[in-house]
């Protein structure tokens, strides 16, 4: 394996980072700053568990690299995360240190000296067994709020995925990656990691892509690659923001969910005209970040495809369920739900069950056709819960959520939802009366993006 990206083993004077104010950090300077923070993390004379409350910028980047360089165990969290969630994580995992780029107060923590940013040390010793030697990084699972479930990753996971990305995006030291996604988010982090591995430059804008200062920064520093989740592309297209002058731009990447084939085709046409390569990608935090990519020259024919496995990985389908399976060196060690899980080693052995149902075309390109868990098999019959909700919506059942396990479907009805109509739809679908249960809720739990939070519903005791 090549040296890890965290070694920053590139020409000392090469530009590693351009900060929001235009200030530049060389690889040498970034390494120096990282090691200065590493010294603070190492002050306990043992391997520390460090939670970083991330904001993209030099403080958190140096803390992240310092932690990896000195073999600590890091947890990356969005500095904007809900305080209740953060507090429950702190209570659960009792990290030795918390690092933030802005001052913040925590019970049981006191400020400790740090060369930059703000460092807080736990006032009492962390209980629980020592962390597994291969564990390097904890990330939140995509979408979850309030769940202490974290993804456990190793240095090998991180570097392997960065290597794959460098390879298929053909990143070189000439590349200038725009890091507009949060580094606490696996897709965002993968941009940092892959560009550092290639010896390229990270451009860190301060503002959101819907602000003037962001585009001023882009015009001035001319990224060679830009990344976005489906929402970004929806807005970029709608506002015709990709029609502006973007000198130096070479690559667009999209991940973080499904962009509709229509939109994919629109971006592809635009990219073709402008001479950019447009990569549609698929991944999960459970695979560090990336699992598959659609080669740019195939996007036009297959705009709905997630493409092929990244270099170093393999994709295949479960014969029985059609579930998309992935093997590769970037597959996580496992999940962590409590502090004691941090002692666990590799539980997955390189095999990830994605939970997505896929299909493969005759050329070996993959497509996602649904979520495995949104199917229930009741009395030997498969039910698509999303379709069930749609049917109820069409019948005028109001806001309902269908979920459950293979024994029973639960239909949660928001206040005002007409129960007789819900029953009618269930009868129409020939679902055995014993196979479902209706419950009334005031409001359905939802994620910030307004999608229904089925995990939270499933945790409630609707199953008798």
């Amino acid at each position: 394996m090549a040296l890890g990206f965290w070694t920053l083993d590139h020409p000392a004077d090469a530009t590693a980072v351009v900060l929001p104010n235009g200030q530049v950090l060389s690889y040498k300077e970034l390494a120096r700053q990282s090691d200065a923070i590493a010294d603070a993390f190492g002050s306990l004379g043992k391997r520390s568990l460090v939670f970083l409350l991330c904001r993209n910028g030099e403080d958190c980047l140096a803390a992240y690299l310092g932690g990896l360089r000195s073999n600590q165990v890091l947890g990356l969290f969005d500095a904007e995360m809900q305080p209740e969630f953060l507090n429950s994580l702190l209570e659960n995992y009792q990290p030795d240190f918390i690092f933030a780029s802005e001052p913040i107060a925590f019970a049981n923590y006191q400020e400790a000296p740090a060369p930059r940013g703000f460092l807080y040390r736990r006032t009492t010793l962390r209980s629980g067994p020592p962390t597994a030697p291969e564990l390097a990084l904890l990330l939140t699972t995509s979408g979850s709020t309030g769940s202490p479930k974290l993804v456990r990753l190793s240095l090998q996971n991180l570097n392997a995925n960065a290597q794959s990305i460098v390879s298929y995006l053909e990143l070189t030291s000439e590349d200038r990656g725009l890091t507009s996604l949060p580094m606490s988010y696996s897709y965002g982090l993968s941009i940092f990691n892959s560009h550092l591995l290639a010896g390229g430059t990270l451009l860190i804008p301060h503002a959101s892509f819907l602000q003037r200062t962001y585009w001023d920064f882009v015009s001035k520093h001319q990224p060679s690659s830009m990344a976005g989740v489906p929402y970004h592309y929806e807005v970029l297209l709608k506002m015709k923001m990709l029609d502006r002058e973007l000198p130096g731009l070479r690559t667009l990447t999209q991940a973080g969910g499904r962009l509709s084939p229509d939109r994919v085709s629109q971006v592809e046409q635009l990219s073709f005209r402008r001479g950019w390569k447009f990569f549609v990608m698929y991944g999960q935090t459970e695979a560090t970040a990336r699992i598959a990519y659609l080669p740019p020259n195939r996007v036009r024919e297959k705009p709905g495809s997630i493409g092929i496995a990244i270099p170093g990985g393999k994709l295949y389908l479960d014969d029985d369920t059609g579930e998309l399976l992935y093997t590769g060196p970037n597959v996580m060690l496992g999940y962590s739900e409590t502090a004691s899980d941090l002692a666990k080693g590799d539980e997955l052995h390189g095999l990830l069950r994605t939970g997505d149902v896929g299909r493969r075309d005759e050329e070996g390109f993959y497509y996602i056709v649904g979520r495995l868990k949104r199917f229930l098999k009741i009395y030997g019959k498969r039910f698509n819960l999303d379709e069930m909700e749609d049917a109820m919506g069409r019948r005028g059942c109001g806001t309902v959520a269908c979920f459950g396990n293979d024994d029973r479907i639960v239909v949660a009805m928001e206040r005002g939802s007409p129960e007789p109509l819900v029953r009618e739809v269930l009868e129409h679908l020939k679902i055995h009366p014993h196979a479902f249960r209706l419950v009334n809720v005031d409001t359905l739990p939802r994620y910030p993006n307004s999608k229904i939070d089925y995990q939270s519903l499933a945790r409630q005791e609707f199953f008798e």
Partner: protein, 87 residues
């Protein structure tokens, strides 16, 4: 004079309601200090909702430059003036 004053406060009220709608906050908490990114909840999703809310409320089509420029409540007032809204 009296009529002018009424017009002033009306546009202001409508703008305030559009902001409350777009950012999902109460009308009382809409004030000149609201700023993109530093006001909790004013993120890119809220921003697009705010733009949609302004477009439909004032029956205009904010262009891309104005969407990018609209980074605070006072700035919104300034931009809307360009579209003929009187405050």
């Amino acid at each position: 004079m009296q009529e002018d004053k009424l017009t002033l406060s009306e546009s202001e009220l409508i703008l305030r309601r559009a902001f409350a709608n777009g950012l999902q906050i109460s009308e009382e908490s809409v004030n000149d200090a609201l700023q993109y990114a530093s006001t909790p909840g004013w993120d890119s999703v809220a921003h697009m909702a705010l733009i949609a809310s302004l477009d439909s409320t004032f029956d205009i089509m904010l262009d891309t430059d104005d969407v990018l420029e609209l980074s605070s409540y006072p700035k919104a007032r300034e931009i809307l003036r360009k579209y003929g809204v009187r405050f």
